[in-house]
Symmetry: C2
Subunit: 371 residues, 2 copies
């Protein structure tokens, strides 16, 4: 109420913490704030001697640029959006981890979100990312819904998709070579003697799920094999889905001797379903997964699976994003990145049941015998 003490000192900032600003550096180095900004941002037109003085001052006063202010004026937040389908599917945390490491190492922060296959959720997620002004978004849901694309696409906002995406200058695509790894898987099984191989797909709304299923069919055809309709069933990339799917397959007239799954979680569900129906993996049925999550090697038996390197995926995603964001990035023109996949053979695949005992025994002896 006292009208006298109106003018408080201009200090006493609102921020909670460091609160040493560019001005302090300028004062310390005895230059203008513009010079400090230029030096810090590595603009070449500043005298090296002077720049050194500035950097010294930065050290001394412990200056850290305020990202909010920086974003406000420059329009770039140095944040990357990362959208995955389901953070609780172990494949994604591995991907997130790699992505984050890379992004941070390159001066970006990352905003993560999972869609849970829910369009509404997805939309709100995108809205939030746009609102927070991320510099670009990597949509690693392995098969995005179209409307979602449209939402994001307006403008020349940098975007990275997996597998497929509209051909636009701002959009980069990570092409995963599913065929490669899946062919290896099918050939591996065929070489062991399997002729009746089933496939459990992911949710077919997802492009990638479709691609994997087609890769399977193609690989079968190449070998002159075909899977009857009842041997190709749709799962949903969860353990529950895998369990349901294998039960459906088991109810089919002809029992397959092997089953290939669209991801590792599905395979785990299959293990479980098979166990419940007193089938044994791999002696009754061989199982092959996809993704090669860390967990795969700890399954009982360890899971034969197709590896899709999330290191590679993450690194490509970050690179592609930066290519879209930074005006003169070396790879600015590159629109596609290619990701290979490869089979990793473990112990969930072996000769089909009913094969000569000699062979069977040999195979059984091979795996577990520590101690």
């Amino acid at each position: 109420m006292n009208p006298v003490k109106k003018k408080s000192k201009k200090k006493a900032s609102n921020r909670r913490h460091p609160s040493v600003s560019i001005r302090d550096v300028a004062k310390r180095a005895n230059v203008s704030i513009a010079t400090v900004s230029r030096a810090v941002n590595g603009i070449t037109s500043v005298d090296p001697e002077l720049a050194k003085r500035v950097w010294k001052a930065v050290e001394e006063v412990g200056y850290v640029p305020n990202p909010q202010a920086r974003a406000l004026v420059s329009g770039r937040s140095h944040m990357l959006g990362l959208i995955v389908s389901e953070i609780t599917n172990p494949f994604f945390p591995e991907l997130v981890q790699e992505f984050e490491n890379l992004a941070v190492a390159q001066g970006y922060e990352v905003m993560i979100g999972s869609t849970n296959y829910d369009p509404a959720r997805t939309e709100s997620l995108i809205r939030r990312m746009l609102q927070r002004n991320v510099d670009g978004v990597a949509v690693m849901t392995f098969g995005i819904e179209e409307d979602l694309v449209k939402k994001l696409v307006e403008g020349e906002f940098p975007l990275v998709f997996v597998d497929a995406g509209p051909k636009l200058p701002n959009i980069r695509v990570l092409k995963v070579n599913y065929g490669e790894g899946i062919r290896e898987a099918v050939q591996h099984l065929a070489a062991l003697g399997h002729r009746s191989i089933a496939f459990i797909s992911g949710p077919l709304r997802l492009r990638s799920a479709m691609a994997r299923r087609d890769a399977f069919s193609n690989s079968m055809n190449e070998l002159g094999l075909t899977a009857p309709a009842g041997h190709i069933v749709e799962g949903d990339h969860t353990m529950e889905g895998g369990m349901a799917a294998i039960e459906q397959i088991l109810s089919h007239a002809e029992l397959p001797t092997a089953v290939v799954c669209s991801n590792d979680m599905t395979a785990i569900g299959v293990f479980h379903g098979l166990h419940r129906t007193t089938n044994t993996v791999p002696s009754d049925i061989s199982v092959v997964g996809f993704d090669d999550i860390h967990l795969a090697q700890f399954m009982l038996p360890p899971l034969t699976t197709v590896q899709m390197s999330c290191k590679l995926l993450a690194s490509a995603a970050v690179q592609a994003l930066r290519a879209g964001i930074e005006p003169d990035h070396p790879r600015a023109a590159q629109k596609e990145w290619h990701i290979p996949t490869h089979l990793v053979v473990r112990q969930s695949s072996t000769f089909p049941r009913g094969t000569l005992p000699a062979l069977r025994r040999k195979a059984a002896a091979d795996p577990a015998n520590a101690k």
Copy 2:
């Protein structure tokens, strides 16, 4: 070069996207920007009639406040930091998911990071969060390193810890009642007839790991049992660690009939190690986990484990954080939140080996028999 066309129109903003500012709303509603701000932020001193007009204008021009600008001036970013130890441990994604859902529903964004038990990484993580000006941080690493605390603690920055933390006005603690669930586990095993029960702890630097181990010892003592030194070994909360630990235990003179693990990942590693040494779960050795991750019920056999609800944990964390951030939060004074734990019995625990066959058979018949 032409000195004439200096003055470009003041439009053509730097931002990539929406770019409709508070000023546009003000113009549309024919009020000052101050009024718009007040209306939007629900300051009561604005006439309801006018407020309605403002809101209408907001709708019409599609205004969305810019969080950066907002943060810059208000000092609050509406971002919450969430630090976990290892995003690749399936327990944490489940927690992250819940946390994020709650935070977003309450108007906050979340910045996630995992320490991987690496102090350097942890420090950089915290630095980044502070720099990005998060409003508060939940440290859900279940036993934080002390120096990390110090780094954060200066100032009255809102912090939430699990299990333990300095008693300071800005710090809130989520107290997990490990004793409860672990006692249930031990009693469950004892009731089945187990007398020789081993324990695999987490990394003992972690407070929570210590707490779980102590809870185990106490529960054993209560029943007049003791575990020999060689039966209590230190793991590291990973599958690899669990495998190594069980091998160490198996090398001990006296073989336990059951083993309790400090978390589910450890238990999975134990399953694997036991399998490699041709022991069967649960007929040779019963195994009990901790956390009750989703995966637990899909193990073979499904894992008996102590449930620690990440829903509860997440909700408490968000609540506690808000209590520290918002000046007049109803629970501002509450410093502790309590989280219960409970045993979930599945099929990885049964009577000890060597118990009368009759009992054994009965137990074996009980679980799996679908089809």
